[in-house]
Amino acid sequence: MTLSAIADTEPTDFAGLCESRWKGRVTAKLDAAACHVACEPPDLPAICEWLSEEMGYVFATLVVEEESKPGWLLTYVFYKDAATPWVYVELRLDARVTTVPSISGLANGPAADWHEREAEDLFGLSFAGHPRLGEFVLHEDWPEGVVPMRHSFDARRMLDIPEAPNPAWDPPTIFSAPGSFAMPVGPVYSDFGEAAHFLLETVGEDVVRTIQRFFYKYRGVEKISEGRPIDRVLLLAERFSGIAAFAHGLAFCQAVETICDVEVPPRGRALRTVFAELERLRHHVATIAGICNSTALVVATAQAALIEEDLIRLSCQVARHRYFFGAVVPGGVTCDLVEEHRQHLLTAVDEIAQRCEELHRMLRYSSSFLDRLEEVGIVSPDAAAAYGLVGPIARACGATRDMRKIRPYAAYATVDFMVPIEQEGDGYARLRIFFAEIEQSAAILHQILRALPAGEIRAPDIVARPGTALAAVEAPSGAAFHWVRLRDDGMIARYRITSPSFTNWHGFHIATENFAFQDFPIILASFGLSNAECDR
């Protein structure tokens, strides 16, 4: 087969291509969801490397499942673009297996690094060749050998965990020179910061690198979802990350709809788009307020905060709740947009877009502000690709991946919008991306609200049935992947959330190497990530 022939057949016959490349070592099957590539453990690293190096695929998530008949199913999810099928590399293992080859030490980069560390902590699976396992989600006070995600562990069981004897976390540092030290930041902050711990390793004025520890807020959402009905888990899906509640609730509902084969009525899809974009607007404006605040630009912070509160109030007016709790259900949405609200929303969105534009213009002419952002917290395009970064952070360094384009959901296929892109990857590029996305969100809202379809807003009651589905949604801070498996009785068997904050916090340390102390809050703010979303 010539190269051009491969290129021609690629989208339609990826399974064939895969089998011919890995003769006799894989079985590939293409279905509506993805190309399932089943392989044996020794081949796994090479196949994943082939996917990301030669085929241009990006690692999305690793889903570990303990099957009911004893055994493991590991699904490595890869995606590329709208034209190519998603790839699930599947590994079925005997229950006695405790070690799997790691794929995070490869040339394709460490995208799976955190996923493997999490699986090691929560399932007790080890990953051979992984450079650093242990103590990740569960901190050192957690009893050795207790793995909460295994079926044998009861989520209701209250563990008698002693409080850590030494609250001062003391990981190995790279410097031991006299005068060098590690400056702790968190987990309790002086303002409204979210719990997370950073150690800034320094030999004087400049910070050489940052060591980070998350999962202070681990609430075991995936574990406590198991065995519960869909409507209860929806509460968790919405509330594990309140500032992106609609996006995550939507992702969960879409996964359930795929399994149960439910068609959402056109008006329901349009309204989902409206709420999702309002949430994105609010998230981005809040992030901009945070960036202004981190540079102590008081008036700009106040201006952005006013817009933010106006957006929150707008959400409350159209969807009852200031953060869209309870707005989405499997099959549609719960609140309709009356004509009066539609008109009001159209004018309000226009006005907010104008105020954001004015704010952006004024910020662009504030040189003292720009000085703090330019060339600060740089993420290179190569690093972003290697870490599989998503959302505005990836788009600020040349990667246009956006789930609204790659796998259009809700009503995104019917609207015309652009995915903004910048190349520099610094704080200023991220700020510009946030402003540009606000403009696009306003444009999307305009198109949808002008031609809002009539009809029902939700499908009739759905009937749960067993199955598995992966839903991908572009949450405000990037791609979110929700993997849902339903049992025969319609209860949740496995719920795996891969949030954009989880993916992007992994790459945060790239932006925090060799910088000045006072830039740390600015870099932190320009990432605009949520720890609740990461920790789950």
Binding site: H139, D141, P148, F153, D154, A155, E163, A164, P167, P187, V188, Y189, S190, D191, F192, E194, A195, F215, Y216, K217, Y218, R219, G220, K223, I224, D231, R232, L235, L236, R239, G242, A244, A245, V299, A302, Q303, A305, L306, E308, E309, I312, R313, S315, C316, Q317, R320, H321, R322, Y323, F325, G326, T334, C335, M362, Y365, S366, S367, S530, A532, D535
Partner: protein
Amino acid sequence: MANWVLKGLRTRIKTSAYRSAAEAVSGLSPGQPRGVALPAHDAAALVERCPTRAIDSCEGGVAIDQRRCVDCFRCHADVEEPAVPWGDGYEWAAYADDVAAMRRKLGHAFGRSLHIRFLDAGACGACMSEARQLINPYYNMHNLGFFMTPTPRNADVLMVAGPVSDAMRLPLRITYEAMPTPKRVVAIGACAASGGVFGPSFAAGGGVAEIIPVDVVVPGCPPPPLAILHGLMVVVGRKPPSELISRPSNGEMSPE
């Protein structure tokens, strides 16, 4: 150079009237369910439908435990009968229990200057976002004499959100112990009040009161900024507290 001073002046004063007068802009608050008189079988249906056991049957109807309500609207909107009435308003803060009510307000000295330490004990981000609004111009808690402080040594009030995840138990206790007396603890949100949708489980507790004594509870998921502000006013005795349980009689009396 952009003229921020002029921009700030042109924006004029945006601060809410909520201090002396009531604030009634739409979108301030998602509201709260209210207890209602109902026949026994309707009451039982509502109790069954509530996912967080916030609704309990009581003499002649249902009572709502506001600490447990997570704003899912399943007892009110988009549902078949029976439904509970929904009250708006935002003055929801109340003393956590009788002991806290005995301790009551901090002395007059704190009435005009209160320093607050905020602690995230596993909150989802919405409570934090609402608390953060307190320093934006709309709510401007500074002009009430409320300030955030960067150290627990200077703090009079510890404001906590979240069900208290396992890893935050120790930081919470250390922070509380580092504060000088007299000190008060304000738990904001359903998670901090009752564990919300997360706790109690292996990873999260059933609220802040399991770890440290709580004085004032601000229910809501999340409580809107004015409810949190009301909570702070209750701490210093500038506003009377509300009730945590809404019963049929007082539910009907306060339509607001």
